[in-house]
Each structure stands twice: as structure tokens, then as C-alpha cells.
């Protein structure tokens, strides 16, 4: 039986370092190649030794697909392609291809330049890696090789995020990457057609959340920021350089404009300009509003939001600062946080999910004292707020996507095990499909039932239709006779005559013959008469044609019934019954009927 195997190397019952291996129809595909935010050792990258102990990965992988540019989905890419070794194609959408190297470079800088790590990938490696990238367009079917094709769908989440459909023959897998089913201020909602994949691999970050309407969220967010700024406090919003940051910027920008506020808004990183440049560029990937209005004014040209300088953090008075990274695990956001944590007037708004082990996760869980490097402790006095702005689908969104795609099996990744469990139950109960949630390194095997396409000759179909009366009902299977020819890797169904002709064979007729002897003449004649009458009556009812030939023979379709007297025994009458192979059913029925009708029937073949 053909089967599809899915093995998460990362993101199995976990968030971070997404990396999922899929074997489908003899092809091996790697979906995403991310790093883990919570670790600084080997665990930060997926364990590629699972694929092979030594040597390069090229011969084991047919392609690598990156769903979007977040580091937990693409952070290990240069490591994998350059350090472990992979030369095959890497697929990603245009915006991802544009933004991904910037983030990788930033990540490299932090790790190598700041933390002084060695044995890390270099700028050149990033460049080399990006050379292997093949860009994808939305809804464009790309043939990786003769059999494997992939197609990208819009996923929301961040600029350029895509869901991918991987298809080999009639088997298919859809990997969602991260996606968002509700549109936000700058991106639209994920969409997929009813592609009915064999497996839908979905993220499940918010498996147990049903979020309020986004308008409530926006209002709450603005209110909190507004209040803090009014009373002179500073607001820190840790974000990743791209994605939520842009949404929140648009939100605050319009709010500032509307309320005519004066407090400065800063964006902390030099990445902003570059990033915003790409947002301006890939306007087709944004939502309806921005696409429609960019002619008048590109929404990403901010008026109130300025670049941040390190020294501004000590300025008195209210301000709002967007700082990277989003989980407070390193970098500028952490520095600013340290400066502002002591003042209860200030506020930190965590707009998204925080991985376990990060400071963001700790303060959200209410820790008031943090242990920093050098054995210092930091007291957290500022207000900690959490607003779920991260653009992942909530439970309802996941359900909605399942309803849209109608998969045969479901596989959950990118989420916490406990929450997944809950969602898994829900899915199984709601859609009555299998749902899997493999851990890292655990392989899930799904047996598929692929349909085998067969070319059928038109003549055969027409003949069948002529027999069958009205149009075939697409809902019901129908049997038909034909010859299946398997030749040159193709399957064809043709009529037997044509098959014979093509194979250059003569047609042999197979006939069954049966003799029935009757002893007593008068009685026999009566029997013959009555039985044929019986037969006739029955056959007429069934709609078979019956012919009486002049020599006393009766023809039912191809079956010949003949009465003859044998020369040796005049008392005996012999009933000859002969039918062709095609009418086997009818023939055998007739023979039994005639035999049963005899008081002392003898038969021989």
C-alpha cells in the first residue's frame, strides 16, 4: 500500500525550529528549516543527522520549502545548506526570499558578533544559500521534477507567508506553515481551495484559544497605550522586526493621527527601514485596504514613527518603543526592558507568543524577580500586559481551514502537546478524520489510497453508454467489460477486440457445450417442450431475445438449444446446449434449469 510518512525534526509538540520531513510517493521533502529561540546550544537547530549520519543531504532530499521568513522557520537554512550540505532547490515566495537574508544576517550578527560564538555560518554562507532559492508565486504550480509539484497559497501571518501543497500523482500533503484566518491591518486572511489533501499539516499555536474579535483587541491595545502615555509612562512593545511590528505600527500611526497625539513613537532597529521598504514593495501581498489606497498614500510610509537611538531610552517623558526581538531573549528589547523595568508607570505589552525559557515567557507568568547574567537580579515593577496580536489561527480558525481544505488526515505541529491533545480530540470528533501529533523524531505513517488513472478508449465508453440508457450517475460506480493494457508505464482500458488487434492475437471463442439425454420419447418431447417453454417464459420476462430457427433449434442470445435423436438409441433424445463464454451466466442457468426439469436427467460435457 502506498503511504505518506511525516517526521517532524522540530516543531513536533513544540514551538520553534520548525522542520518537518515528508516522504510522499518516493519523494522526500523538507518543510521549513528553523531555529529554536529558547536554546543557545546544538538544540537550537534541527537534528539533521536523522536524515544521514555523514555526508551531504542532497541525495536524500528532493526539495526544501520555506513557508515564511520568521527565524523559527528559516533560521537553520544556511547551516543546513552550507554547513551540513544541501545543493537541491529551496523554494520560498518572493517576499520571503527578499526578507529572509536580512533576518539571517541579523541573527548571525547577534550570535557571532555579540555573543562571540564560533562555528556559526558566515555572511557568505547566507549568500550562497540564497542562491539556491527558487521563488514561488501564489497559486503557481511548480514542477520540482516530473512527478513532484508544489503550489503556494496565501497564508496571512506575515508578508509573504505561504501554505504549500505538495503533490505526487494523486497523493498530496498541505503544509500550512504559520497562518492567520482573520485579516489584520496589513494582511489578508489565509485561503485555500477544496484540495482534499491526504494530510493537512497545520500549526496549532493557539489550539485552545478562541480569540475575541480583533476590533476589541485593537481597542484594548490602543486604550492601554493611550492611558500609559497620558500619565507619562513609557511603553515597550517587543516585536520581531517584521510582521506584527508593521501591523502595530499602522495601528498606532493611524491612532496618533486621529487623536493628534504628540508622544514620540520609535522603532528600535535599523531593520525597519529595509523591512518597510519590502512592505512597500510587495503591496500585492497585503490586504485589500492597503492595496486599494497605496496610490494615494502608501500605508507603510509612517509620519509619526521615527527611528530609535539607544540614547533615547533615557529621555524623560512618555514614549512608545517597538524593539526587537519579540520574546525579550536578547538584543535591544531586553536592554530597554532592563532600563524601564523598575518604574511602575511604565508598561510592557507583549503582543504575541513567547517560547518557554525566554524572559518574555517568565514575566508573562508573573515572575517579579529575574535572574540576569552576572548573577544580578532584576525587579520587575512595570506593568506587564499581554495582547494576543500574533497572527496565528485560533482554534476556530484551524477548524475553518480544515473545513476549507477537507483533508483526509490531520497532523498537528508547532504547538504545545497539552493543547494539541485537546484540539486533536475536537478535530477527530468534529470531522471524524484521523488526527496525529507526532513528537520530534517520531514518524507518522498514513496509508493512502491513491486513485490510478486509466485511459479509456472513447469507443468503449460510447458503446457502454449506448447499452446503459441515460447518463451515468457520477455518484454510483458502474461495472463494464474491457481489457486493461499495461504498457510503457501507462494504463489503458480498451475493448477486447481492440486489445486483440493491438496485440496481434486471434480471437478464440470459448464455448461450453452440454448434452442432456432423455429416455422416453413422448415424455421427453413434452419435457423439452415444457422446459423450453419455461425457459422461454422466464427469458422473455428477463428481456432476452429468443429465436426459433427452422430446424427446430432455439437460440437464446448466443446459446443454442437443439434436440436431436441419437442414432444408436432411438428411444433416447438428446438435448444439445451450447453457449459462449460471454453468456456463461445465462448458459449455466439454462443447463441447471433443463436438468432439474428432467425426471432422470443425465448430462455430460
Amino acid at each position: 500500500m502506498p503511504e505518506i510518512k511525516v517526521t517532524p525534526l522540530g516543531a513536533g509538540q513544540d514551538v520553534g525550529r520548525s522542520c518537518i520531513l515528508v516522504s510522499i510517493g518516493g519523494k522526500n521533502i523538507m518543510l521549513d528549516c528553523g531555529m529554536h529561540m529558547g536554546f543557545n546550544d546544538d538544540r537550537r537547530f534541527p537534528d539533521f543527522s536523522y536524515i544521514t549520519q555523514q555526508g551531504r543531504l542532497t541525495e536524500f532530499l528532493d526539495c526544501v520549502i520555506i513557508s515564511h521568513f520568521h527565524l523559527d522557520h528559516c533560521g537553520a537554512l544556511p547551516y543546513m545548506s552550507e554547513m551540513v550540505g544541501y545543493d537541491g532547490p529551496i523554494y520560498m515566495t518572493h517576499p520571503t526570499k527578499a526578507i529572509c537574508p536580512i533576518l539571517l544576517e541579523d541573527f548571525r550578527k547577534i550570535t557571532v558578533d555579540k555573543k562571540g560564538e564560533t562555528n556559526f555560518f558566515t555572511s557568505q554562507m547566507i549568500k550562497d544559500c540564497m542562491k539556491k532559492v527558487v521563488p514561488l508565486n501564489l497559486h503557481q504550480t511548480v514542477q520540482v521534477d516530473d512527478e513532484l509539484e508544489i503550489k503556494a497559497y496565501y497564508a496571512g501571518h506575515v508578508l509573504g507567508a505561504a501554505m504549500v501543497q505538495i503533490k505526487v500523482g494523486s497523493e498530496s500533503v498541505v503544509y500550512t506553515g504559520d497562518y492567520n484566518m482573520t485579516p489584520d491591518r496589513h494582511l489578508g486572511a489565509a485561503w485555500i481551495d477544496k484540495c482534499r489533501p491526504d494530510i493537512l499539516i497545520s500549526e496549532s499555536t493557539y489550539a485552545t484559544t478562541i480569540r475575541d474579535s480583533k476590533r476589541c483587541r485593537e481597542r484594548d491595545f490602543l486604550k492601554k497605550v493611550h492611558e500609559t502615555v497620558e500619565r507619562g509612562g513609557k511603553v515597550l512593545i517587543p516585536v520581531f522586526a517584521l510582521g506584527r511590528a508593521q501591523e502595530l505600527c499602522i495601528l498606532l500611526e493611524t491612532f496618533w493621527e486621529r487623536m493628534n497625539m504628540k508622544a514620540p513613537i520609535y522603532f528600535s532597529t535599523g531593520l525597519t527601514e529595509k523591512a518597510n521598504h519590502y512592505y512597500k514593495l510587495f503591496i500585492t501581498w497585503t490586504n485589500q485596504k492597503i492595496r486599494k489606497t497605496f496610490v494615494q498614500r502608501n500605508m507603510f510610509e509612517f509620519k509619526h514613527i521615527k527611528a530609535f537611538d539607544r540614547s533615547y531610552a533615557d529621555n524623560p517623558g512618555p514614549m512608545v518603543v517597538f524593539a526587537t526581538p519579540g520574546m525579550l531573549h536578547a538584543g535591544q528589547s531586553l536592554q530597554i526592558f532592563k532600563k524601564w523595568a523598575g518604574n511602575e508607570k511604565n508598561m510592557i505589552i507583549m503582543p504575541g507568543y513567547c517560547v518557554q525559557g525566554t524572559i518574555g515567557h517568565k514575566i508573562l507568568n508573573g515572575q517579579k524577580k529575574l535572574e540576569m547574567e552576572n548573577r544580578q537580579t532584576l525587579e520587575v515593577k512595570l506593568q506587564v500586559e499581554y495582547m494576543s496580536f500574533s497572527a496565528h489561527a485560533d482554534a476556530k480558525g484551524i477548524m475553518q481551514l480544515i473545513r476549507m481544505a477537507e483533508p483526509r488526515n490531520m497532523l498537528l505541529v508547532h504547538g504545545e502537546a497539552k493543547k494539541m491533545e485537546f484540539l486533536k480530540d475536537k478535530i477527530e470528533q468534529e470531522f471524524t478524520i484521523n488526527c496525529f501529533m507526532p513528537a520530534n523524531g517520531e514518524t507518522t505513517t498514513v496509508i493512502t489510497n491513491p486513485s490510478v488513472p486509466v485511459d479509456i478508449s472513447l469507443n468503449l465508453l460510447k458503446r457502454e453508454m449506448a447499452l446503459g440508457g441515460p447518463l451515468p450517475d457520477p455518484k454510483k460506480p458502474r461495472t463494464m467489460h474491457g481489457t486493461l493494457i499495461m504498457k510503457d508505464n501507462s494504463l489503458r482500458l480498451v475493448s477486447p477486440e481492440q486489445a486483440l488487434k493491438e496485440l496481434g492475437l486471434n480471437e478464440h471463442q470459448l464455448r461450453f457445450t452440454c448434452r442432456v439425454q432423455y429416455r422416453k420419447t413422448e415424455f421427453t418431447i413434452f419435457i423439452v417442450f415444457s422446459s423450453s417453454y419455461l425457459v422461454k417464459a422466464w427469458l422473455v420476462l428477463k428481456g432476452y431475445t429468443i429465436q426459433h430457427l427452422p430446424d427446430g433449434t432455439v437460440m437464446v442470445e448466443s446459446i443454442v438449444i437443439k434436440v436431436s435423436s441419437s442414432a444408436e438409441e432411438p428411444n433416447t433424445k438428446v438435448l444439445l446446449l451450447s453457449w459462449s463464454y460471454q453468456d456463461e451466466d445465462l448458459g449455466s442457468f439454462l443447463s441447471t434449469l433443463l436438468k432439474k426439469g428432467l425426471p432422470s436427467g443425465l448430462s455430460s460435457m
Binding site: 474579535s213 486621529r258 485589500q288 476556530k396 477548524m399 473545513r403 485537546f422 468534529e430 447518463l471 455518484k475
Partner: protein, 978 residues
């Protein structure tokens, strides 16, 4: 395919055919008939391409009804000969076109058309032929036999393998088929119910079924286009008034999950139709043994479609939800709750259920960190994530990506909220949230919707806060809509009032052009919440118990705004006036006079009021004003003849009274103005007819003549104003107005006769006048009894004599009749409204000239409000008058008109100015004109009377009435630099 496209293209062209008939008739004498020409053309055609060209050419010309049959025969003759599919297809489409010819009975070509089906093999042509049959069938809706034959054909071809043929067959069935009507027991139902029943010989194999079950079979067709066509055909049946059986409900519901969006979209409509037909019938819920009302079930299903993958379907679903008013309240309220539920079936509300689940920690709202850590499990089986429920439908709809869906959802909310007060209360938060939508259209729409439902609700402070934040919006439309909304809102606390006032004042300083709108808004706010304003008064007027505060500036719009609020509140709160300081009273009197539409009359203790108007003002109510109006009019009615002594004085006084009344009572302004204008006309007539002057010799009274001519002209103008400027007139008044017009024309005639020598010109004038009298008689037959004593009445008594007599005599008769005829009393209809226009922008106050290079154009923004104008898209025009007397009339685009409220329109447009160079800046005048055309109005009014009686050319006077104050704008065209 290409040929099919060209066919379609020509279809649209040839609709113009009937209009070209007139010239064709003239040519017929000299030219051979159309059919012959076509025949020759077709015979000449050597190949299909040529033939197609001829046919295409032919399709552009017109064919008279008599020759259609001949043409069709020739076409069919050629049809049988033709091998090429595209030509046959074109012929088939031409037959369909031809059968649409006016005055042609397509029944005569039916047989021939049907015969073509026996030989036709091409599917495309078959589809086109069926389309032709559809045309013929719709032309002959009464003929049962024709219908049965057509349906029979459709039935025969339903099993065709080509989807187009099946589509057309279904369309035919939908348009012509019948549904079995079991109620019809007396045998009448037999024939229509049976397909082919009327021709039993033919229909040996055709089973006897009604159109509905036939069509519903194709709900499961393999081709999505056919499925769509089947649903559409079913909807067509419904539209034709046939009752659709409930049995297809399940099928329709299954189609909601179809793979194709057009099928789903149509299925939504289908389910809705069924829910409207059988709202109360009970359907079981699958996988449980409970039952719900059908309308609730379908509501749930359609709600589900709001989160469909295709936005077309989402729009359709959201719109449809708004039309399902019979749905049970608890289902309705679920639409606003996104929280899960499995609970549809029981009577507990969704909210309770959601709260429970929330408390049990199963799902988090995403507002708090870690509140989604799974605790103990609730009964998992009871939780249904995507229940067949309506849950959250509107939450989804309102945050949809496409603004089309959001607007549809807002509209639906509005419709549902208007029918259910409790729902209105609940959806308030959502609507208020929509004020922050990123698309202006959506914001505007939600503001409008909130206004519509605001009678049902009271805004809380936080909601008001959100609402008021929008006041700073830079879009004028939004702000004005919001002002409109605030006029109708109820608020709960005095803080709310203060907040609203503050924000409105902020708005006023930011956008001074909003002045009028803000004042109006405060007027209503004050009226609605007198008790809430009361505690704020000292603060608002900045009075102090001991100290005198400086007197505020009377010209400050903000101060006026505050006063408007306070005075309107004081109207129903007598204790408030005690808090006023001296200058407030002074300001009151000033404002009462200058802004009487904003400041109501107050009963002020110890204040003497203007003596003249105290009678009206004191009572202040509309009823008393109405009474006064009636009294004045009845006083007038005592006048029998205008030549009576004292009549003129009475008229003069009454006109004055009415004018004043109109100013004071805005509700009656229309009626008062109308009567005043009418009386003024009468007064003018009387003055013109003063006896002693008429007896003088002509040369001696040139001055009088001039005066009388002017009077006649003015009267004419006034009558047009009376007729077209006021809405709500009844036939009676129109007759009266026309009567005055006749009088004016008679006066003109008499004057012409007096001043001019010679009979020749007079004859034609007299004839014209007599024609007018005649048409008046024809138009107002019903009203004639009321006009016995009047000018026309008397004239008509003499009518046989009139037509015979000479112009000189006629003039004499007219002169005497004019003078002797009695005064025609004016009967006022219930509601008369005067059309009015105010140009808000340009204000005309600017001293900075608009500079532009001469010869080029400059755009001038115009913003005006129109009240009580019917059909402004066609009637309102902008006139620009240049100082040199040049004038341009500009017709604004229909899109420039918005309708912010009932009977109100807003014109925001740009007019383009251009002129040759001037030496210095000069003012141009911009004004609004109301265009009228008497013929159009007559037709509208007299649509029931025979149309041939109206000769539009004769009675039609087209013209324009200036209305509203003109505005002057400085412009300065500079010579171009070389």
C-alpha cells in the same frame, strides 16, 4: 466559441431596433422587402463566413412586424441547407431576436422552430435554439399549449451531454414550468401540472412530473454550471409565484457545501427562499433526536456560510442574514458571540454557555496570558467547535478581509436590529467598533446604521467615547453622518453630554465649516436631554453665584453652540432659566431672531416679549400655527371678487402674516410660502386689472401697461415655482396653479391686443391660448366642478362661442371674464414642502480670488444641501454667471448626490470655470437651478389618463427655477505667459 461571442454582441446592439422603424416605413415603397433582400444575400453567400457576415449585417437592420414571419421562413430554409454550426447558431439567435419584434405574434413561427430540433446535432446550436424558444415562450406567457410544447422539448433535451443545452432546458423549465398544485382539486390543476399531458400521443415515454421535481433532479448534476442553472431555475419558479415544496430543503442544504462558489451562492438564496416559505415547519437535527424550526436551521446554515472560502458567497450569505427576520432571538444573538457552543438545541442562551466554558478554562480569549492552560476537561462531547450554529457569524462578517462583506454584514445587522430591540442592544458594541474600520465606506455605513437603530438604544459613556473619537475624522461625510447620529442618540449621564459637547466644540474649532451641522446636532442633544443638561448649565455658561463673569463674545461659534444646547434644553426644563445671567437673556433674544431655526421659543419669566407675534410664539406649537394658517386662508376665502374694496389690503396683510409664519414655524414653512406665493399672484392680477386704468386710452397709460406686463410675467414665473418647487401637491392644487397660469396668459393676451396693432399676430396667439384652455379642460376634468365660479369655469361656459369668435371679441371676453371671475380659494394639502438649497461651499466670504490661467479651467468645489427635492439627479443643475453676462449650466454627475437623510440630499461636486483674461479679480455667481419640464410632470401625475390626449410638444414648457441663494466667488483669470 467565437461565433457565440459575436452573437451575444449583436444581441445587445439590436435592442435598438424598434426605434428605427419610422424611416424604414418610408423606404418600403421603393425597395424590395427585407425578406427578399435577405434571401438574395444568403443565396449569394458562397461560404459560411460570407453567410455569417450577411447575417450579422442583417441583425443591425430592422424588420417590420408584418414581414417577420417571411424572414423567419427564409432563415429557416437556409438553416436546413447550412452545414456550418456558427451560421446555424446565428440564425437561431436571429429568430429569437425577430420574435421579440413589437406587434408580432411568435406563435406563428413556433412550429417551424420546433421542427429544427429534429435534425439538429450540434450542441451549441441546440442550446441557442432553446434560448430562442425561451424568448418565444416569454412572449407568449398566456398560452398553455405553447408552454406545454416548449416544456416537452426542454424535457427531451434535459439529458443532453452538453452542459449548455441542459442549462437552457432548466432555464426554460424555470421560466415556463409549473409546480403541481395539490390544492387545486377541481380538475383545473390537472392540465398545468402535467408535462406533455396535453399531448398524450407524443408523450408516451414522458412520465408525468412537475417542473420542480424535474429541476431538483439536476441539483446533483455533475457539471457545476448545470447545478447553478438548476437552482436558478428553481428560484425563477419561486419568483413567478409558484410555491416550491419543502422537500428540496435537504438537497439545497447539501449544495451549500458544493465545491463551486456559484453553486454555493445560488444555494444560499435557495435556502433563504425556503426558509421564508416554511419558516415554522420543524426539521430534525442530524445526529440528535431534537428538532428546530426550519427558519432557525437555515439561519444557522447560512450563518455558517459567512466564513466561506469565497467572498462572493460570504457577501451573499451576509446579505441574506439581514432578510431573515423571523429567526428566534436566541439564534440571532449567537451571531454576535464567537465563543463556541454546542448548545443550539437547548434553550439556554449562548452567552451563559460561553461564560461557563470560559470559566471552566477550556478556551481563552487571548486577552490574558496563560489563561488557556488546560484545566479539567468539560464534557468534551458537548463542545462543538464549528457547530451548525450561527455563532459568531457577524463577528466573522464584520472582521472580514473584504469590505464588501463587512458592508453587507453591517447592513444585515441594521435590518435585524431594527426588528429586535434586544439584538440592537447587543450589536451596539460591534457597530461602534466598526467606526474604526480602515475603509471609510464601512465607517460611514456603520454610522448610518447606528443612526437608524438609535431609537432603540442608549449609548454608554465608553461607547460614546468611541463614537465621538470619530468626530476628528478628516472626512466631512463621516463627521456629518456622526452629527446626524448624535441628533438621534440617547445618552445616559451628564458626563456623556459634557463629553459630547467638548468633542463637538473641538470639532468646531478644527473644522469651522461644520458650524451649522454642529449647532443642529447640539439643538437635538439639548432637546433630548434637558435634565442632563441642567446640572451642567452654570459650568457651561460660566456663571458664578457671586461674581460677574465677563460677557462672552456673541459671534463666537462655540459660544453659540453652547447657547443652542442650553436653550433647547431649557425649552422643556423651566427651572433652567433661573440660572441664566443677564447677558444670556439678551443673547437669547438676539439668537431667537437670527437663528430662529435653532433656538426655540422660551417662556421667560418677567420678560416682555415682542407684542406682534406673541400669540403664535407663546403657544409655540405646530397645531396652533396650523390653526392660524387655516384661519388666515379662510379669512381670504371670504373674498368673492378681487375687485371688492378692501380685498387688496386683506391680501397684503395675509401675505405678510403667512411669510412671518413660515419663518417662525419651520414645519409649516412650505405650506405658508406656498399660500403666500399664491396670494401674491392673485394680488398682482388684481393690481393689473384695476379698473380705472383700463378705461384709459392706450397711449396714456404706457406706464401701467409696462406694470401689467411685468405682473403677468411675474405671475407666470411664480406659477412654475408653485408647481415645481413644492412637493406634496395634489391634483387640486396643480389645477389651481394651472388656473393662475391661464389667467396670467389671458392677461398677457389682453395686453398684447391693447398694445399692438394689427390682427395677424393676434390670431395665432389666440389660437394658442384656446388650445391651452382646451388642454387644461382635458387635464383637470375631475377638478372642473370646483372651478365653476372661476375664470376658467366662466370661460368654459362660453367655450362654444370662443372658438368661433374673432380675436378682437375674444380679447374683450377675456378682459371681462378676468375681471368678473371670482377668487379661487386655495385648499392646502396636508404636507407641502418647499424645495430649498443652501450652498455651504464656497461660502462667498473669501476675498482671495481664485487665480488661474485664462483659457484653461479651474475646478470650483461646490457643496450644497438640498431639501425636499424630488429626483435631484435629473433636476438639479449648477449655474455659473460671469460678470459679462455669460452663463453656463452644469449638470452634476449622479454620483455627486448623496442622501444623508430622508428628503435631504447633499450635492458635492466640482464645476469647471474658464474665461478669457481679466484685468482684475471679479465676482462670478454660482447658483443652483431646479430644472422642470411640465410634460414630464403631467405624465407622472396623469399616468392613468389616456396618453394620446397629451401632446408633449404642445404643453411642455421646459425651464429652470433658481432656488437657494446664489454665492459669489472671486475669480481672476490671468493672461497666459508667453
Amino acid at each position: 466559441m467565437a461565433s457565440q461571442f459575436s452573437t451575444n454582441a449583436s444581441v445587445t446592439k439590436t435592442i435598438l431596433l424598434p426605434q428605427e422603424e419610422a424611416p424604414a416605413k418610408k423606404l418600403r415603397l421603393t425597395k424590395p422587402s427585407k425578406s427578399a433582400a435577405l434571401h438574395i444575400d444568403l443565396c449569394k453567400a458562397s461560404n459560411p463566413t460570407d453567410a455569417l457576415q450577411y447575417l450579422l449585417h442583417f441583425a443591425r437592420s430592422s424588420v417590420e412586424a408584418e414581414s417577420v414571419e417571411g424572414v423567419v421562413r427564409i432563415l429557416l430554409e437556409h438553416y436546413y441547407k447550412e452545414q456550418d454550426n456558427s451560421v446555424r447558431l446565428k440564425i437561431a439567435s436571429l429568430i429569437g431576436l425577430l420574435s421579440k419584434t413589437q406587434n408580432f405574434n411568435p406563435e406563428s413561427i413556433l412550429d417551424d422552430t420546433l421542427n429544427t430540433f429534429n435534425t439538429e446535432k450540434s450542441h451549441q446550436v441546440l442550446a441557442q435554439l432553446l434560448d430562442t424558444l425561451l424568448v418565444i415562450g416569454t412572449q407568449l406567457p398566456e398560452s398553455l399549449i405553447v408552454r406545454h410544447r416548449l416544456i416537452e422539448v426542454a424535457y427531451k433535451h434535459l439529458s443532453d451531454t452538453y452542459f449548455g443545452v441542459r442549462n437552457k432546458c432548466l432555464q426554460l423549465l424555470g421560466c415556463l414550468g409549473n409546480v403541481d398544485t395539490p390544492l387545486n382539486k377541481d380538475g383545473q390543476g390537472l392540465v398545468p401540472a402535467v408535462i406533455g399531458g396535453s399531448a398524450p400521443g407524443v408523450s408516451g415515454g414522458v412520465c408525468v412530473r412537475d417542473a420542480q421535481s424535474l429541476i431538483s433532479d439536476y441539483f446533483a448534476d455533475q457539471d457545476p454550471r448545470v447545478r447553478t442553472a438548476a437552482i436558478k431555475a428553481m428560484l425563477q419558479l419561486h419568483e413567478r409565484g409558484l410555491k416550491i415544496q419543502q422537500t428540496i430543503y435537504d438537497q439545497a442544504c447539501q449544495l451549500l457545501c458544493d465545491d463551486y462558489e456559484q453553486v454555493r451562492s445560488a444555494a444560499v438564496q435557495m435556502v433563504w427562499v425556503l426558509s421564508q416559505l416554511y419558516p415554522e415547519s420543524i426539521v430534525p437535527i442530524p445526529s440528535s433526536n431534537e428538532q428546530v424550526r426550519l427558519v432557525d436551521d437555515s439561519f444557522g446554515k447560512i450563518s455558517h456560510m459567512v466564513s466561506d472560502g469565497s467572498w462572493v458567497v460570504r457577501v451573499q450569505a451576509a446579505k441574506t442574514l439581514g432578510n431573515m427576520l423571523q429567526v428566534s432571538p436566541h439564534f440571532l444573538e449567537q451571531t454576535l458571540d464567537k465563543k463556541l457552543m454546542s448548545d443550539l438545541r437547548r434553550k439556554r442562551t449562548a452567552h451563559e454557555r460561553a461564560k461557563e466554558l470560559y470559566a471552566s478554562g477550556e478556551f481563552s480569549s487571548g486577552r490574558k496570558w496563560a489563561d488557556d492552560a488546560p484545566k479539567e476537561k468539560v464534557d468534551t462531547s458537548a463542545v462543538n467547535l464549528i457547530a451548525s450554529g450561527a455563532c459568531g457569524a457577524f463577528v466573522h462578517g464584520l472582521e472580514d478581509e473584504m469590505y464588501e462583506v463587512r458592508i453587507a454584514a453591517v447592513d444585515a445587522l441594521s435590518a435585524l436590529a431594527q426588528s429586535s430591540a434586544s439584538f440592537a442592544e447587543k450589536c451596539l458594541d460591534f457597530l461602534v467598533d466598526m467606526f474604526n474600520d480602515e475603509i471609510e465606506e464601512v465607517r460611514l455605513q456603520s454610522i448610518h446604521v447606528l443612526r437608524q437603530i438609535s431609537t432603540n438604544i442608549t449609548l454608554r459613556e465608553d461607547q460614546l467615547d468611541t463614537v465621538l473619537a470619530v468626530l476628528e475624522d478628516s472626512s466631512r461625510d463621516i463627521r456629518e453622518a456622526l452629527h446626524e447620529l448624535l441628533c438621534f442618540t440617547n445618552v445616559s449621564t451628564k458626563e456623556c453630554i459634557q463629553l459630547a459637547l467638548l468633542e463637538l466644540l473641538k470639532n468646531l474649532t478644527k473644522y469651522p465649516t461644520d458650524r451649522n451641522s454642529v449647532w443642529k446636532c447640539l439643538k437635538f442633544l439639548g432637546c433630548r436631554h434637558p435634565t442632563l443638561v441642567l446640572p451642567l448649565v452654570p459650568e457651561l455658561l460660566s456663571t458664578h453665584p457671586y461674581f460677574h463673569t465677563p460677557e462672552p463674545d456673541m459671534d463666537d461659534p462655540a459660544y453659540i453652540a453652547v447657547l443652542v444646547l442650553v436653550f433647547n434644553a431649557a425649552q422643556s426644563c423651566p427651572t433652567m432659566t433661573a440660572l441664566f445671567s443677564d447677558h444670556t437673556f439678551r443673547h437669547y433674544t438676539y439668537l431667537r431672531d437670527s437663528l430662529s431655526h435653532l433656538v426655540p421659543p422660551l417662556r421667560l419669566p418677567g420678560r416682555t416679549q415682542a407684542p406682534g407675534v406673541s400669540g403664535i410664539e407663546g403657544s409655540g406649537s405646530v397645531e396652533s400655527a396650523q390653526l392660524f394658517l387655516q384661519q388666515s386662508l379662510s379669512r381670504i376665502s371670504t373674498i368673492h371678487n378681487l375687485q371688492d374694496p378692501g380685498a387688496q389690503d386683506l391680501l397684503n396683510f395675509t401675505i405678510r402674516d403667512l411669510q412671518r409664519l413660515g419663518e417662525l414655524q419651520t414645519e409649516l414653512a412650505g405650506a405658508a410660502d406656498f399660500s403666500a406665493t399664491y396670494l401674491r399672484c392673485q394680488l398682482l392680477l388684481t393690481k393689473a386689472l384695476q379698473e380705472k386704468l383700463w378705461t384709459m386710452a392706450v397711449p396714456l397709460c404706457l406706464k401701467h401697461n409696462a406694470m401689467a406686463t411685468a405682473a403677468a410675467k411675474q405671475m407666470l414665473e411664480e406659477t412654475y415655482k408653485l408647481e415645481f418647487l413644492y412637493s406634496g401637491l395634489e391634483n387640486r392644487q396643480v389645477a389651481t396653479i394651472h388656473h393662475v397660469r391661464l389667467q396670467a396668459k389671458a392677461l398677457q393676451l389682453v395686453l398684447t391686443a391693447r398694445t399692438r396693432r394689427g390682427v395677424e399676430p393676434l390670431i395665432s396667439v389666440c389660437e394658442k391660448f384656446l388650445q391651452e384652455v382646451e388642454s387644461f379642460q382635458r387635464l383637470f376634468v375631475v377638478e372642473l366642478p370646483h372651478l365653476q365660479e372661476s375664470f376658467v369655469g366662466k370661460l368654459l361656459d362660453l367655450s362654444p362661442k370662443l372658438s368661433a369668435c374673432k380675436p378682437g371679441e375674444l380679447v374683450k371676453i377675456l378682459q371681462t371674464t378676468l375681471r368678473q371671475s371670482g377668487f379661487l380659494n386655495l385648499q392646502l394639502p396636508k404636507q407641502v414642502q418647499r424645495a430649498s438649497a443652501t450652498i455651504i461651499e464656497p461660502t462667498g466670504e473669501s476675498d482671495n480670488p481664485l487665480r488661474f490661467t485664462s483659457g484653461l479651467v479651474v475646478a470650483l468645489d461646490i457643496d450644497a444641501t438640498l431639501e425636499h427635492v424630488q429626483d435631484p439627479h435629473n433636476t438639479v443643475k449648477v449655474q455659473v454667471l460671469y460678470p459679462d453676462g455669460q452663463s453656463h449650466v452644469i449638470q452634476p454627475k449622479p454620483g455627486d448626490f448623496r442622501s444623508p437623510g430622508p428628503h435631504r440630499h447633499r450635492l458635492i461636486t466640482q464645476v469647471y470655470l474658464s474665461h478669457s483674461a481679466w484685468t482684475e479679480a471679479c465676482q462670478i455667481e454660482v447658483r443652483l437651478l431646479l430644472a422642470y419640464s411640465s410634460s414630464r410632470l403631467c405624465k407622472a401625475v396623469w399616468s392613468d389618463s389616456s396618453t394620446e390626449g397629451l401632446q408633449p410638444a404642445e404643453g411642455a414648457t421646459e425651464g429652470t427655477i433658481p432656488f437657494g441663494k446664489p454665492v459669489k466667488v472671486f475669480i481672476m483669470p490671468k493672461p497666459a505667459r508667453r
